[in-house]
Symmetry: C3
Subunit: 278 residues, 3 copies
């Protein structure tokens, strides 16, 4: 698992803009392998987010980090390039290449660079995800080509993506059908390197929320530091969204991270802190 | 611990008969041994059941697997054949030989073959059990003879069983006193082998719920597969209950399991899936 | 972690004085060290207390041990004698020498010997503490001298203590400012040894709750047994509070413990049981 902590500034929290932010994630991957070479397993996480942003007069029940338990479990059976998962599934749209082209700052700073905007099934680190609602998915990879199909009872979603790698570039195309008009319908991405710069272009047709497009890049500045940038626009954004961050490796699985973003509602969010793997 | 996942068909869930079923159990047994040879310890479980059977329109608060925490802890002190337990105790009636003569299918399929029908103190994998209500028990074994006495504040229960093994057969007799007329009053069982077949006959006088009798058997079919069957009848069953399953060992602590049962309310329940130990 | 279980007698629980008591604590300290020698980490606990004192007719929701999850996490960065902590912080008043001069009996028996009486930020083993309310603290030690400053959004507290060790004696002085008149304002303690007896004198000015003063001692009786005693008085105590206990080491991280105290409300509390480390 890993932990992170630092400072988060959020211009939208008027009168209480600056707070401590932290996350603790303990991940348990439990597996067993049959004599026939099939791996069966489950993944659970215990994740606590302390947002520290509105508890000054101790609001009962709200924003209470203590009592953190497991999230919904994801179970799987895997053999060669084929994997079947049930429960808190990854989801074919969330899991397609290009949806998380960068990991901005310490906390993600709003994740407005994720094109599908969480309008599809996704693994939930602290909640149910599709556990409890018949989440099921199949992943298959064969050389440079990979497929992913997922479905759940949430909005009767069924989704799929196909991805192909060619000469260092990855192309992905996804589609989803559901009974919710605000769910993502189509997604596409392409990512690769122009010399020292990794770039990703991602697009999603988010149904009634309209189109969303993101351009993101990452490049090294020095031996232990990289910088990430993005710009995103969408039909339901009042303003274009953009941001920049840095990640500085401190060694031993620790890093210093920080970033700043101007979000679509024209407020600024910024963070700075450390992350450590254990 | 272990995990299991698969498909569960339940005829009684009209309109939503077939669903994914899964369970994840993480067990922690923490012990220390004194210089005098007494072992002190505690057992806790984190168990999540995903029944996936009625969340289509996202029912708030109900059937929500995420947030799984510890169950009530069971503490014990053990020395030689003597063990004292407090908290989430096993319970003398639940723990007597013959109460779980088989483990039907992937999920137990209703457990109508358990003669006492949970009308006594029992270890709870996801809840309190007798933790928080003064659960206490003493277990003692001496060669082929064993005793178990338990008590809790739940219905002011006090229960005991004695078991004796002779020539490969086990005889057990249990009794319970409580202030709830629907609690089990008496239980008896005998189990052993007729050649290749393990059989158990179990009986319980479940107070106002009347008598309950179960006959169950298990036999090997091939090197890695066994089959289990049962038939049970009870005064408060509208119909006799019966079922059959198979368990096929896949090696490495993994197995394929499935079964089908006709329950006392005349509905069919069936399951199929895998179980893995980790 | 550790566990403990035993019997607790509480004269104030009229009609239900004697009950089983237990605690299970699983502690996770997760750390990583940067190349520069800074240790980053987090501490979380899963702690379950079973008080078993009022569930005879199964009170819904109250006193329910099952479902135990993580407490609020404490994060830290440490280098040499300097440590910065955020989240569920220790707190400068709770953490100052002399606040827990003894650990009475199996359960603490009311902790009336803790001079500040929990009127300041403190690490919570089962709750949030200052996690979620911007808890932050700095600890610094330099030879015999140590400093500790802490702050949180709870009552807008800011607190500090300084401690100094000299010839086997430890002197500590603490102060706190907050917007709650019932919070501790000042605390002082001195502790050391008179021959075979460890003694601590602690004082706190608890704001509107008035002054609190505690004298406590510990001495060995035999190779594996010690005895602890205390007497405490406070402006808001109807009676002086006093108690005595014993701790007998059983080896292998296990011990037998028991004590008796006469509390400020003139009721008696007593316990007896075992504790084991794992």
């Amino acid at each position: 698992g890993w932990g992170r902590f630092g400072i988060l500034y959020n211009e939208a929290n008027v009168g209480n803009e600056t707070n401590i932010t932290s996350r603790f994630r303990l991940q348990i991957d439990a597996t067993a392998e049959s004599d026939g070479g099939v791996t069966f397993g489950a993944r659970v996480r215990m994740q606590q987010n302390n947002t520290d942003d509105n508890r000054q007069p101790a609001v009962a029940g709200s924003n209470s980090p203590a009592g953190t338990g497991f999230n919904g479990a994801r179970f799987f059976a895997r053999s060669g390039g084929l994997e079947v998962g049930v429960g808190n599934i990854y989801g074919a749209i969330e899991f397609m290449p290009g949806m998380y082209p960068i990991d901005l700052g310490l906390t993600g700073l709003g994740y407005e660079y994720t094109a599908y905007q969480f309008r599809a099934d996704a693994y939930s680190s602290g909640g149910n995800g599709s556990a409890g609602s018949n989440g099921v998915e199949v992943l298959y990879s064969m050389g440079d080509l990979s497929f992913h199909v997922s479905a759940s009872d949430t909005n009767d979603r069924i989704a799929a993506h196909v991805a192909y790698s060619w000469n260092g570039w990855t192309f992905a195309l996804g589609a989803q059908d559901s009974n919710n008009a605000a769910d993502t319908e189509l997604a596409a991405s392409v990512g690769g390197s122009f010399g020292p710069v990794d770039v990703t272009l991602a697009y999603a047709d988010n149904g009634t929320a309209g189109d969303h497009i993101t351009l993101a890049g990452r490049f090294d500045v020095g031996a232990a530091t990289n910088v990430e940038v993005y710009v995103a626009d969408a039909d339901n954004f009042a303003n274009a969204s953009y941001g920049v961050d840095f990640n500085h490796d401190l060694g031993g699985g620790t890093s210093l991270r920080g970033g700043i973003a101007s979000l679509s509602n024209d407020t600024v969010r910024a963070d700075l802190g450390v992350r450590f793997n254990f």
